[in-house]
Point group: C2
Chain length 240, copies 2
């Protein structure tokens, strides 16, 4: 398997390029419209064929590159089921596997940041957590049908039950971390874990809900353009 | 082996945390002073003991975290031989191995960006290229005893002779790439390779020198403070 983490500095977004080295089939997860040229260049240089653009959810902070990539390459756009997207080629649901050559990408429903957010377990040893679980943090739960209690359940009952050594590749990072593990987050993520000295224990659901409701975060700068554009797979033209 | 790539957004610098999981001994390569708190927190959370801070060269774009980390942890500061550093605990030279538990970090002299720049081959399967080889680029050669001809020789005769599958982890990246391979750079790096259609051939030495002399890059913003501070391992106090 080829696995590349790519970064958009202006929105701190990670895009992931995953490919099977036998068939040379590739998938881009959470592409960013401003980085389409970079991503296509890399795909060409690596001799890959883009089969799918896969979204963890409808993003509020950046416009997806999916529409542009689809028109340039003929790839399919894949989004989680129940996503308000008018233009997806395929909807994926909890437990379903997207097969790319010999690479298996299994969807895990992880609502909370949005109501249809999914994470993706890749070849059973790494998980793309999107905006559910971040490294020592998590996505916000205060808009786009977000719900803190649902997020707590998604992270603690779905993601934290993966093997401790599972690598965690998030949708964003704001502190320059690139990767973590489930074991680390279960021990050190301050949103989900309370620590007294050297011991850690899972924060209870109500305490997490109260923590999330106290964050008072500003809206993402691009939310007014990003959400409607992403519901059209990043196709601006259809907005006018 | 534990291997973590960490990123400083303000200077696009990659720092690498490498550790042996048996002994829990760790080394930080090219730490950034503003990120010392982040790096120490991660080292603590992973249960590691910092043995070394290792520099690829004296940086002109950021102040090293080595001095601060050394005073906080008692780790050793390691720099390449012939580096103008007044405070290193150890100098490393071409071919020498820094052992961290079972992890081997072998120095490869790669002058050109500076006259004493070294790259580091980690466990024979990944190379930290510092400011010699970037992903589809390379470090500049126009100050700090830089020399384009020497850089050409370092990259083509030392780094490009590593196995094609060797992973390339650079000291900086400005386009959101995180990793590459020697094989990719030998085929697609526009500084060292000329392409006609789908065929690529190594640019000749004179052509590379002319390319590098035509770049006309502005000086790094922090050069006036970074170079003298780094020659003192990031200890500002000794400058006054």
């Amino acid at each position: 398997m080829l696995f590349r983490q790519l970064f958009d500095q202006s929105t701190w977004t990670y895009t992931y390029l995953i490919a099977d080295l036998g068939t040379k089939e590739a998938v881009l997860v959470d592409p960013v419209i401003e980085q389409v040229e970079r991503d296509l260049k890399l795909i060409h240089e690596l001799g890959l064929t883009l089969r799918y653009c896969l979204e963890t959810h409808i993003h509020a902070d950046h416009v997806t590159g999916t529409g542009k990539l689809r028109s340039l390459t003929g790839c399919q756009g894949v989004v989680p089921e129940n996503t308000h997207a008018t233009c997806a080629d395929r909807f994926i649901k909890d437990g379903e596997v997207l097969q790319v050559g010999d690479v298996q990408i299994q969807a895990i429903a992880t609502p909370g940041h949005t109501d249809s957010h999914h994470a993706y377990l890749v070849n059973n040893d790494r998980v793309l957590t999107g905006d559910a679980l971040f490294i020592r943090g998590c996505g916000r739960t205060d808009f786009q049908s977000g719900n803190a209690g649902t997020m707590y359940d998604s992270v603690t009952q779905r993601l934290f039950t993966l093997l401790d050594q599972t690598l965690v590749y998030p949708g964003h990072d704001y502190r320059g971390h690139t990767v973590s593990t489930i074991g680390e987050e279960k021990r050190w993520n301050p949103r989900f874990v309370e620590r007294i000295g050297e011991t850690s224990s899972l924060r209870n659901r109500q305490s997490y809900i109260e923590l999330m409701s106290s964050l008072n975060l500003p809206n993402p700068k691009k939310i007014m353009e990003a959400v409607p554009a992403n519901e059209r797979c990043g196709n601006f033209a259809t907005l006018t």
